[in-house]
Amino acid sequence: MTPLAGAGLSILLLCGLLVFRVPMVVAIMAVVFFGNFMSGAWMMTLPQTMMSGIGRFVLIALPLFVLAGGLMNAGGISGRIFEFARALVGAFRGGLAHVNVVTSMFFGGMIGSSTADLAGTGSIVIPEMKKNGYPADFSAALTASSAGIGPMIPPSSPMILYSAMTGVSLGALFLAGLIPGLLLGLSQMMIVAWLAKRRGWKAYADFSLDEVYRTGRRAILSFGMPLIIVGGLVIGVFTPSEAGAFAVVYALVLAMFVHRVLDLGGLYRVLANAVQLSGELLIIVGLSFALGSALTNARVPEFLVEFIDMVTVVDSMYLRILALLVLAILAGMILDPLIPVLMPIILPTLIAYDVNLVHFGVLMVIAVVIGQVTPPMAIALIIAGKIADVDQIRVMRANTPFFLGIVCFLLIAIAIPGLATWLPNLVRN
């Protein structure tokens, strides 16, 4: 059997195992063992490559930011953020839907987890939207789509994974995601405004500067967290891992001594949750290095370059990037986490095409977000649909404007690399 056929068989085996509900960790492990066995490679390359993958210093940021997010979530910031968002945009037509989007944008800058946003905030906001006359399917679709803003805005777990897999500066990636994240939120607000006008949705709150001041004062300390992360990286005071540690200490002080809503028992629980949430991702990253190395030895990246050249008839970098992203979106419909599994396969191709890896990192995160709202997996839509107690098909149909919006946004982000690269270049210069 040729190495390429062996690699094809390995990829098929991986898909087959995942279809049969084999955990991703076990599926990748089994495929690497199978690949090593077929090629006669030394079995011990698996633990060796895995340890070198886990040992990447940038990965330390992952459990730290997950922990900081957990502390903020348990530390009473969610309600304050919601209040502030309501004071800012609640007076618009379709106010509560706007508040939902803005809360997700703020949430992304503090917690970086779309699941926490969905399950925590969504479980209250969706019923509240229904109570205020919004259709249940729309409420679920909007909440699922707006939760996708979180991974774009630093601190972002997919970006940490991308940085670990590619070696691209995490600081540059965090900065690169900021403007696209905010623009994605604005694009969703524009869709909400258009729908609100057509369907006659009302405002959610009266606008008053006093209320903006009152809620802003209550929420201001929560905004210290993104300030530490982005500010620290811009000034060059911290490495991303150090920014993570300072974010943890800041969130800890806020939750335990300022808001006084977290005791030692609660702190232990948040720490334990962070261990469980980040541990498996770390192992998947380690295993993906082993998988990537096996596929590279089988010359899969060269095959991918030939394939992309064949499907992109015109010699255009944009078309090549688009072809790779279509591949990522297709894989993202099934795989979660997408980045550690896919990046080892396509990274050599990106380097061969001389693609800007910071730009592509942001595009990959958008692909991850699209995957979360695209069947058959559509994890965000499924969670939101369950909260809203509405049929999945209806939620997917109601999500169409937001889905089209994010696809258009992806195309714009491909065509204008400056959206992602302008801020990191500015800071570097």
Partner: protein
């Protein structure tokens, strides 16, 4: 300032959001488990929490010391990198034990009802075999390279890499126990598909 009815309602929603977020974060993941199962989970959890707390302390102290005292710890980076595998393996073990491991349920749920129990049991057995193989290979790896000394920390690297053995063996045992449980339920008349 007098608040309108709409604003008062908004405040109540904000409070509910706070409560929901805290409940989500602070819920006991082992509620309803027996004493032995809780004990196992809590022990591994403690190892993971210790690893994570150490990482936070070392990274924070190192950065603070660099700015405040103009000196940093040469061993900090290596120590954190050596602790990370323990955190990762504790996390995987807990995910396996608590059934939150990352997997795709979609296709399984589309399978005919009668076949699901058999597929679930076969998958449990498969997981157990793969992880046990990983534990054996990791054991050989640690036996061969675990004696190498870490440059700054001055400890054998096996202190770190042995996490692979414990994590893989622990997860294999967890799947073995789940397989036995599913098999017994199936023999007793259930379909064992909730494994």
């Amino acid at each position: 300032m007098v608040k309108s009815g709409r604003d008062r309602n908004g405040d109540a929603v904000a409070e509910q959001i706070d409560r929901s977020a805290r409940k989500l974060e602070l819920a006991d993941p082992d509620a309803g488990l027996g004493r032995l199962d809780r004990g196992i989970n809590r022990t591994i959890e403690a190892i993971g929490v210790l690893a994570l707390a150490s990482i936070v302390l070392v990274v924070f102290a190192n950065a603070s010391s660099r700015y405040l005292l103009n000196s940093s710890f040469s061993w900090a980076e290596e120590m954190v990198q050596m602790t990370l595998p323990w955190l990762a393996m504790a996390g995987v073990f807990l995910s396996v034990r608590r059934g939150t491991v990352i997997r795709i349920d979609f296709f399984f749920e589309k399978m005919p009802h009668w076949i699901r129990g058999t597929v679930a049991r076969a998958v449990l057995a498969f997981n157990c075999i793969v992880l046990a193989t990983m534990a054996v290979v990791s054991f050989d790896f640690v036996r061969m390279f675990g004696g190498d000394m870490a440059l700054y920390v001055g400890l054998p690297t096996g202190v770190s890499t042995s996490a692979l053995i414990f994590g893989a063996a622990g997860a294999a045992m967890a799947y073995a126990a789940a397989f036995v449980g599913a098999f017994r339920r199936s023999a007793a008349g259930g379909n064992g598909r909730d494994a």
